[in-house]
Symmetry: C2
Subunit: 163 residues, 2 copies
Amino acid sequence: MPEAAAVSGTPPGAGPGTPAEQELRLSIGQVAGRTGLSIHALRFYEREGLLVTPVHRGTDGHRVYTEWDLEWLEVCVRLRASGMPLTAIRRYADLVRQGTGNEEDRLTLLRQHQQHVTAQIAALTECLDLITFKIRFYEECRAQGPAQGPADPLLTPAVPPQS
Amino acid sequence: MPEAAAVSGTPPGAGPGTPAEQELRLSIGQVAGRTGLSIHALRFYEREGLLVTPVHRGTDGHRVYTEWDLEWLEVCVRLRASGMPLTAIRRYADLVRQGTGNEEDRLTLLRQHQQHVTAQIAALTECLDLITFKIRFYEECRAQGPAQGPADPLLTPAVPPQS
DNA sequence: CTAGGGCCTATAGTCAGCTCTAGGTCAAGC
DNA sequence: GCTTGACCTAGAGCTGACTATAGGCCCTAG
């Protein structure tokens, strides 16, 4: 992770005049490379309104992504990776698009997702316990040699203490 | 979680004669209630070969689940909840169905999934960091009063230290 | 005797989230 | 001048995991 993923307020350009910031201008292919999203997915995300503003176009009609777009997309990727559905990301994008004043709504949305992710981690940790328990069980079977394994087909003792 | 989820070897009944164990016999509706799976999903899982053995039927053709079936299903639920695809669960069920002798294969399968889950937890934890960072950012915005918020639309400083 | 509930089969439909195809534009290089 | 490669749009198709529907059986209660 070389670059820092940022973005929190409103996209620039809405500001006074967009001074000639020597921004980097990325093609869709480059953004795909950096975000890990496919070119298809990038176009799809834009169509779905996940992008706060539609991406600027060059004279040839090709998409030109700014640093800000990239950072926003990186946030999207994280949110998706943590299971936020596209509809929720779109709602978040909508709020950002509307500009300042709805920080409470953004907080609510983020807090909900925070809870969701926390719950996911807890659930996964429980599952991991079960899996680890079973792995240990089979390792012990093996350690005791092929003859010593639970001879009777009926072997159902493999219960974690209390999950 | 009142009951312990178990199951590790081969289903009983393959053993000598199935002595008259006073097993509990559950209807599909009861199993749905206990596992959290829908009745539809239970039939679906069976069709898909996730169940080691097809469920026994009563005289009326209705499914009769044993304790063992229930426990196996609870394991399935955990595996699913941790993102194991149905195809992998089926492979696991296949191994169990084949009986003892393939413990190494089972171990491999479980270890792979263990890694997968561990990676998932790590990824989620990273995402959680970002979300928590953003939440703090908005909380600070709010704490500083509506006038003090980042006045300029261009506010893109919200970066976690190094994720 | 009929209404309801719980179950059965088989098959169709749904949903999210992409992914792919067809058909086309444009600029650079051989 | 032709090919190659990166991009464009619109729209169809796919995958995984269910979920719902249609049509039917059987038992029990009113």
